[in-house]
Amino acid sequence: MPIEYKKNQANFLDVATVEEAEPLLAWLQEKKKPKVDLKGCTHIHSANLQVLMALNVKINTWPEEERFRAWLQSALSH
């Protein structure tokens, strides 16, 4: 399971594939203050990225890999 849904936090692990986008969107819509942990994530499909961007989700932890982190921060940190 590439995305682990906890109470108010979604933990991204390894690679989040295109199939995750819809459940992710549904989950984010449900939660009042959703948080996202990208620590263990090595790649997320563009569709997931769009969802995170569109909902302006708070990222709790960024990925470890530097360039990947830079990419994501360019899109997600405001």
């Binding site: 690679v15 790649h43 569709a47 990225l49 769009q50 994501l72 899109a75």
Partner: protein, 806 residues
């Protein structure tokens, strides 16, 4: 050839055929959403599959076709005849490429331009001639040369430190590119992940993601419509970047970043590059110019930083050869005496052995201090930036490799195969084995008989018989199962007709509507395949000779559009295919005279021949009605080839025609030809097999009922005169036919072609299923037999070829 590619090629043939047939359907029912969707899906899948291999030209054309179809599907572009033509052309091109790949493993480079032309043609129909795409295809990747000097808005996000670092690299002769990738909205549905592609940009040092449009309210957000733009800075070569984006050249813009963007002043940006300086510096011991010294200092600094990196010894040792090479190259470019190079080598070797580059570092410092006059110190941030790059370089490589693996996982989403693709030879082998089983199981009843008669153990005989019936049932089911596997619907052959009819009728200026019926009728693969060529020939003939031009038709009070019907149906254990046209029909008079002229029939036959027999003369060898040999049919190898092809698979052909009304041609074929049912007959103490296809009935005719007219024997059977022939005579066996105790002849009534006649034999036996083996070697010259078969008791049964002996 790798198995994946082989599979792709075999599938692509199927896809192209399906695409062609769907296009024909679509032309008949314009705008049918189901057909359109299916068509789109075929092209889409084919494109996706082609993307697995490195055939960008093929993918490009398919992509353009897909886009055009999508535009037509959504109603953005109207479906016109040109649409069908263009797509057909594109598919022909793709088919040509696949054939070339199949033959040579790749296709010629020369197809590139054609691919561009076709893709351009398709895109032009959408109405958005994408200049970028064509431009890109010619230069091998999306790019626009010569920057207007305008900084993109996103440029402000590039960190200062990075700019400085890049400036240094640019001044050292590297090239930096600004890559803007705007993936199309539907790209997710094609299995693309643009973010992944952007991250993999070769030499990527910085990236930025933006949304093209403001985000809609959450409730209307479509996560599968890509609205992201990717901006990337990459230090690489233009060709390399263009190659990376070669599947989406129209969605990428690659610009070289000018030094001015990186904050270089005019003076700085003109700093000569090392290589140029070297070229200019031919004289040996000229003092180094300040620019060269500056550059050299920078290089030395970088190398020292590399050597001083806080790493384990093993990694350090691995870095040494690289550092050594850089230093040696510097020496060479600045014409240093050879002693310097020797020193470098010595120090490097020592450092490699000890794992400690201290001595080398010391030498470098000395060398620099002695030969290069001190220059202004390079700013600290640059140093830091360099450290950072060096540190991440290796790690980055490893990670990107790992990512590539992840990528393949994403795209290769597992699907459970519902059908198997099996090589036909494997099926054939299985079928042969089952055939053997069927025959060898026939030996068991003989065994039971022997147990009873020879050894007088009735119990055992009964048990053997019981076991036999079980094996028999299983064997029959197996045989049935393997037949099912080999069964193919006739649509496999039929689906190429719509295209054929369309092309030919256009060429001839005729209007033809093609009706296909019973496409789901199934028959053995061999039969279906044997059917393909004769059918094409028949259809061509109908179009060329049968159907008239619209003017002629109207003049005769017929609808302008002619109808060609191809109907398949199963009748008992045979498949019957009828090709009917409502054309001008075949005039027996013309055929008769033509046949006479060509020497196919003699004068006597000319007078006597019935109309029905006359039109069948078109199947005679050397008969061709076409006055002028046309491109389409009438190449002189006409209908006799059709007939022999049909007869080869034990089929029969029949022709009915009415002048002015039309022609109907029926082909009757066996469902399968693996197992032949034969009737065993006895004559002069020998047994022979007669294929059941020929057997009409078996009758006992009293000797008194046989009449002799002239020298021929005849008998009256239910009011019909049936000519009689003795098998012994036909086979030149010098024995008289035997009659039964009631003085009756055993007469096997057979049908050969359209004739019915009786063959007098000694006795009838049972009918059996046999696997007929063709006569090979010296036996192949024996025309009287069509083959031989092994019986259950081990004896050989010769199967008669009635057509030849009668």
């Amino acid at each position: 050839m790798n198995p994946l590619l082989a599979q792709f090629l075999s599938e692509s043939v199927e896809f192209l055929e399906s695409i062609a047939s769907k296009l024909m359907q679509l032309e008949k029912h314009p705008g049918d959403p189901d057909v359109m969707n299916e068509l789109f899906r075929f092209v889409h899948t084919l494109k996706g599959n082609s993307g697995l291999f490195d055939f960008p030209e093929m993918t490009k054309v398919l992509h353009a076709a897909e886009d055009l179809m999508d535009a037509v599907r959504t109603g953005a572009v109207e479906q016109s005849e040109g649409f069908t033509d263009n797509i057909l052309d594109a598919m022909d091109f793709v088919g040509g490429l696949s054939r070339e790949i199949e033959a040579n493993g790749h296709y010629a480079e020369t197809h590139r331009e054609e691919a561009v032309r076709i893709a351009k043609g398709l895109r032009a129909m959408i109405g958005t001639p994408e200049t970028v795409a064509t431009n890109a295809a010619q230069s091998g990747g999306g790019s626009s040369k010569g920057l207007a000097g305008e900084m993109p808005a996103t440029w402000q996000h590039v960190p200062q430190g990075l700019k400085r670092e890049l400036l240094a690299r640019v001044q050292e002769g590297e090239t930096c590119f600004w890559v803007v990738y705007k993936p199309e909205e539907g790209c997710f549905f094609q299995g693309d992940d643009p973010f992944f592609v952007a991250r993999q940009t070769p030499g990527q040092v910085w990236g930025h993601i933006e949304s093209r449009e403001p985000w809609p309210p959450i409730s209307t957000l479509d996560p599968y419509r890509c609205v992201l733009d990717f901006h990337t800075l990459a230090v690489s070569f233009r060709e390399e970047i263009a190659d990376h984006f070669r599947y989406v050249p129209d969605q990428v813009d690659i610009q070289e970043v000018p030094a001015s963007w990186l904050g270089a002043t005019e003076e700085r940006s003109t700093t000569p590059r090392v290589a140029e300086t070297t070229a200019a510096k031919a004289a040996a011991h000229e003092p180094l110019s300040e620019a060269v010294r500056n550059t050299l200092t920078q290089i030395f600094r970088a190398q020292r930083i590399i050597l001083q990196l806080n790493e384990d010894t093993a990694t350090k040792v691995k870095r040494l050869p690289a550092v050594c090479a850089v230093l040696l190259n510097c020496c060479k470019s600045t014409d240093q005496p050879e002693s310097v190079a020797r020193q470098i080598l010595a120090h490097c070797e020592a450092a490699e052995e000890s794992g400690d580059p201290a001595a080398l570092l010391a030498w470098m410092e000395d060398f620099q201090a002695s030969d290069f006059s001190p220059v202004q110190t390079v700013e600290a941030p640059l140093e830091l930036a360099l450290v950072e790059t060096v540190e991440t370089a290796d790690v980055g490589e490893v990670r990107s490799a790992a990512r590539a693996e992840d990528g393949s996982v994403i795209s290769g989403a597992s699907t459970t195969a519902k059908s198997l693709k099996v090589d036909q030879t494997k099926i054939d082998r299985l079928m042969n084995l089952i055939g053997e089983l069927v025959v060898s199981k026939n030996a068991i009843p003989y065994l039971a008989q022997r147990a009873e008669n020879q050894y007088a153990v009735r119990e055992l005989a009964r048990e053997i018989k019981g076991q036999y019936s079980v094996i028999n049932r299983i064997a029959e089911e197996m045989q049935d199962a393997i037949m099912q596997i080999r069964m193919m619907p006739v649509s496999v052959v039929f689906q190429r007709f719509p295209r054929l009819v369309r092309d030919i009728s256009r060429k001839l200026g005729k209007e033809v509507s093609l009706v296909l019926e019973g496409e789901e009728t199934e028959a053995d693969k061999n039969i279906i395949e044997a059917l393909a060529d004769p059918l094409i020939h028949i259809v061509r003939n109908s179009l060329d000779h049968g159907l008239e031009t619209p003017e002629v038709r109207k003049a005769q009070g017929k609808p302008a559009t002619g109808t060609l019907t191809i109907r398949a149906a199963q009748e008992a254990d045979r498949v019957v295919i009828q090709i009917t046209d409502d054309g001008k029909g075949i005039n027996p008079e013309i055929i008769k005279h033509k046949a006479y002229e060509k020497g196919v029939i003699d004068e006597e036959t000319l007078d006597r021949i019935s109309d029905h027999d006359a039109i069948h003369l078109i199947f005679a060898a050397g008969f061709s009605t076409a006055e002028v040999v046309s491109d389409l049919s009438g190449r002189g190898v006409g209908m006799d080839v059709v007939r022999s092809a049909v007869e080869k698979v034990n089929g029969t052909i029949d022709l009915q025609s009415e002048v002015g009304k039309g022609t109907r041609l029926s082909i009757s074929l066996p469902l399968s030809m693996a197992v032949t049912q034969v009737m065993i007959i006895e004559s002069d103490g020998q047994i022979f097999g007669v294929p059941m296809d020929h057997v009409v009935e078996t009758v006992r005719v009293p000797r008194s009922a046989v009449r002799v007219i002239k020298s021929a024997q005849m008998t009256l059977l239910r009011g019909r005169l049936v000519p009689l022939k003795t098998l012994n005579t036909l086979l030149r066996i010098p024995a008289k036919p035997q009659t039964s105790a009631d003085d009756e002849y055993a007469v096997l009534v057979v049908r050969v072609g359209t004739d019915t006649l009786g063959v007098i034999v000694d006795e009838f036996r049972e009918t059996v299923d046999v696997i007929q083996k063709p006569m090979t070697g010296v036996l192949s010259g024996l025309q009287a037999y069509s083959g031989s078969a092994l019986m259950g008791d081990g004896s050989v049964l010769m199967v008669l070829n009635l057509k030849e002996i009668i």
